[in-house]
Symmetry: C2
DNA sequence: CGCAGAATTGATACATCTCAAGCTGGGTGG
DNA sequence: CCACCCAGCTTGAGATGTATCAATTCTGCG
């Protein structure tokens, strides 16, 4: 279970990989310096739970690298993923004392953390941070609403296609693999995590992935590496307006 | 279909019913005066679509009275409600040109509108507004995530119980009917709207409402008026931690 | 009164879940 | 180096919850 400890990678904010996408995106260099003084890095291993729902949160922060999930669990064990945290995404809610969700590392992760109190104080006097956080929160709200349509109204096949399309799109924007028409990427999630994302069982996920493969919508190399030969076809399968499918 | 035109009710902000819950909640009196100058009221009738998805939005605003829904629709007609707008809720996204969802009046509605451009300008120089909007957006994001658990993992019966619990709670906080232990309120939604909220068909909604009634979890007076004799029982049926059920 | 929209109820079909049995591939220890 | 092991995944067969299609029955209102 234990893996080699992920190395802690301290940065200057200046050459931080998420510098222009995270909460600090709009900060001027003097503001960045202030942030620099209250920040610290922390790394977690794949599988580790960073935060338990109900825990008191004494920090907030940004995902620098790696992937984590936000999940909610019912008493009887049913779980639903409610957020997928990629590099630059923000964790924690300013003004709230305790965590509302479990945060679990899906891969090894590096976080850029701020102690909550100083961060909140700085936010109060730094509109650039609050503005960016508002923008990010609005984006997340949009994503959550998109997701609600997926959960509430789509079939299992459409759900899988939707998820693959979302991941493909994010991958394209992150890695700038603009070789349109042939997308290749790794699924960062296990079948079980995909099931928790989509409100399905892992068996159904497996079956529908196989079906999409059989029908030529996707190609698989091993269990995780996916090729999408025709992105519009994938969007059709997802039940999405295929016009909205601009890659960038 | 046409009803008597709802009367337009202009207010001084001072005695506005949503004064301390809407985006303007934190504004000082001078800020309020500025808002006063760019605001205008608009009313809509029950059933009317205030905004079509894709429309260019030249205003944003707050619901003053009445109820509206935010819905997404797929090409084949499947629709999912993604937001329920009650008095004080904010409509529109600063910084975005076109609407992402349909907004439909469920009852007659009065909106307090601001032309988008002046509002954005004012927001940029009025932290009180941006702060409040961030807070409201974070609350909506939490609500959306709660809702995702409902959509993804709950049974039809649990979904109905969850929806009734949510409405009961909101009703309790709005009308301060603090007579704990006996909640009475009107369902503001048709069975079809409930179905769109919960990702069900209206037939299933009807069946489950009947079942909850038969089992004594709720009592009905006509189709709409609901009595909840035991709120904790309702929360159990919703699959919720019955501890979290504090009414306020 | 009688109509139209809303809601209920019934019978059946079907998608997804559930339970159960294998498969696969990468890592480990003998 | 091989055999084994185990988590992750696939596949199958049957159970079940919800959708679908189709009548009725309410209810408010002109």
């Amino acid at each position: 279970m234990l893996k080699e400890k992920a190395s802690i990678i301290p940065h200057e904010c200046g050459d931080c990989p998420i510098r222009h996408r995270a909460v600090c995106a709009r900060c001027e260099s003097d503001e960045l310096e202030q942030l620099d003084q209250i920040k610290y890095y922390r790394s977690y291993e794949s599988g580790q739970t960073l935060i338990w729902s109900g825990d008191t949160m004494d920090f907030v922060g940004s995902v620098v690298s790696g992937i984590a999930t936000l999940t909610q669990t019912m008493e009887d064990g049913r779980t639903q993923m409610v957020g997928l945290l990629l590099p630059s995404d923000f964790v924690g809610r300013p003004g709230r004392a305790s965590a509302a969700y479990d945060v679990v590392a899906v891969t090894d992760i590096v976080m850029c953390c701020f102690r909550k109190k100083p961060f909140e104080e700085m936010m109060a006097r730094t509109p650039h941070i609050a503005q960016r956080l508002l923008e990010m929160t609005l984006d997340e709200l949009d994503a959550a609403r998109e997701w609600m349509l997926v959960l509430g109204r789509k079939t299992a096949r459409e759900k899988i296609a939707s998820l693959i399309a979302i991941i493909a799109r994010r991958d394209a924007t992150l890695s700038k693999n603009g070789t349109r028409g042939l997308l290749v990427f790794d699924l960062p999630l296990t079948r079980e995590a995909m099931a928790d994302y989509l409100g399905l069982t892992l068996e159904t996920v497996s079956r529908q992935v196989s079906a999409l493969k059989k029908d030529g919508v996707i190609e698989l190399e091993g269990k995780r590496r996916v090729t999408v030969p025709d992105f519009n076809r994938l969007l059709e399968e997802a039940g999405d307006d295929s016009d909205g499918g601009m890659l960038i």
